[in-house]
Symmetry: C2
Subunit: 315 residues, 2 copies
């Protein structure tokens, strides 16, 4: 469960003393916060603590993580000249990430997986173009549709950076790579195929490890996302798990309990989890997860109880 750490007091205690990117770029701190939810909830995998913008810090773009807002880019990228100024860093510039992966891999049992984290070119580009989180991503779509060559040049640079980044994560010990295309749900399938898929495919193809292809708001994009790649397709809570799975039948799926359910009393959480498990019907290839990240104000006790409940149901 991604972002499970941010609901934990032990995580908040570390963040009181260290800024987000200081934690992400200090291997011992990064490994510690990555392991916190695994230790507390006894889940099957650790999702590396990182931000979607981590590799962008090496691309010569000023990014600030504003509390309660998200990534803010002081000078949004909207022209060819802006794109031309973006640099493609050497993957070795992200050495602290790989070192953190080594530490996490060494700390886990053999039957627990380390999941490497990478933003998808579209979603990262949307932050760079909008300058701040946006619901509709209209500036992003404008650039994509009005200046497809500029858009392609930007995604070329992001994909070039991310291919090296994911390959190095696998080399350091990541057992799988999850590609986060969190805001892809705003585009049509036609826009996806032309302006998104080639670059997501490039990153997924460079992992040389099993890949999880994640998005939200994607009921109209499941087939297109699967065509771009991913051994596992993420399903968010908008689609019934079985209905979503039937549209990508040759893949594994991950999902798809609504994160808002975890804000509810236990009987609602249990009923929600049981409904997901019933739709999975024991079919091999289902990774139980939320449809999106754990919300900060989630009660950690509920998450622990949920993990135990799902483990029991699968036993």
């Amino acid at each position: 469960m991604r972002q499970a750490g941010r609901s934990l007091p032990e995580y908040r205690a570390i963040r009181e003393k260290h800024a987000f990117f200081d934690v992400a770029n200090t291997p011992e701190l990064c490994a510690t916060v990555t392991l916190q939810p695994v230790e507390r909830h006894d889940v099957d995998a650790a999702v590396m603590f990182a931000d979607i913008m981590t590799p962008v810090l090496g691309m010569g773009v000023g990014v600030e993580l504003v509390e309660g807002v998200g990534p803010v880019v002081a000078h949004p990228i909207r022209t060819r000249a802006d794109v031309d100024r973006v640099r493609v860093p050497d993957p070795e510039e992200f050495a602290p990430v790989y070192e953190a992966i080594r530490l996490v891999r060494a700390a886990l049992r053999a039957d627990q997986a380390v999941v490497g984290f990478c933003g998808a070119p579209f979603t990262v580009a949307s932050y760079l173009v909008e300058g701040r989180p946006s619901r509709e991503l209209n500036e992003t779509k404008r650039l994509m549709l009005a200046e497809p060559d500029t858009w392609a040049a930007l995604l070329d640079k992001l994909a070039a950076t991310f291919t090296g980044y994911v390959a190095a994560q696998v080399e350091a010990g990541a057992d799988a790579i999850q590609l986060f295309d969190s805001w892809i749900g705003t585009v049509s399938a036609e826009q996806y195929e032309r302006h998104v898929a080639p670059w997501s495919a490039r990153v997924l193809g460079a992992a040389h490890a099993p890949t999880i292809h994640f998005g939200t708001g994607t009921p109209h994009l499941l087939e297109a996302m699967a065509a771009a790649g991913g051994d596992v397709i993420g399903l968010d809570a908008r689609v019934p798990l079985d209905a979503g799975w039937s549209r990508v039948p040759d893949r594994a799926v991950q999902g798809n309990l609504d994160p808002a359910v975890l804000l509810c009393p236990w009987d609602v959480v249990r009923a929600g989890a049981d409904a997901v498990l019933a739709r999975a019907a024991g079919r091999p290839g289902h990774i139980f997860n939320l449809g999106h990240g754990v919300l900060p104000r989630t009660d950690p006790e509920i998450v622990t109880r949920l993990a135990a409940h799902v483990r029991e149901a699968g036993a």
Copy 2:
């Protein structure tokens, strides 16, 4: 095209002198800004100038429209006691809205329609519960799932207010009512059927005029929305028009050019419009429109040209 006014200098000139709700609640001003885009672009219908929160101002809830943010509620509604304090106003309290409709109806040609505006209970409730625009609506879903009775009580009051509001708009001369469930795309079909549909159906059923049922992010909800009601189903730009229409075959449809396309040069706009028209294939019952509102920074000349192009294509 909803919100076509906000890209116009003549609208901005009025807004420099008058706050949003002053314009909405002064019949002459409201009629003037409603007619501005119709006069400039020569379109077939006027969408009444109003905010989704207009009727909420009579419900004893403090709402402020913050520029660049949206509706902000100082004391979000999250408990049964909060809901109990909400009052159901007499529809006559919104008399300025009906007077504006009379003025607009009198100013238009007989072949031009007046479209009344009403927020859907879910989307209005989401603003009241979240307190401000939110992408994921997690507090709204928490209330809906953890306290279904409190949620139902809130939607009862909203639906009671809106049924009188839409009926009075039709009595004043509105030729159709558009129900805006702008953020409904965040819920699953199962959540929709249980926690949304009954109240949307109540409002749509009270209009006694043709209704347009609008939402965004709804590729997984089209059948459920149609079951709740609406002579016309709004399609946003995520679904190809013909594919969306084939799922609600007994209804008319409205849509679905991506509003971001209107930020592009004319050849991109024309190609986008032609693609929508090709998918409609001249089938009766298609209302050409954008998938969502006109963006504020859209060039009004482009909108005029688009309206002329669509008119010509349909001639």
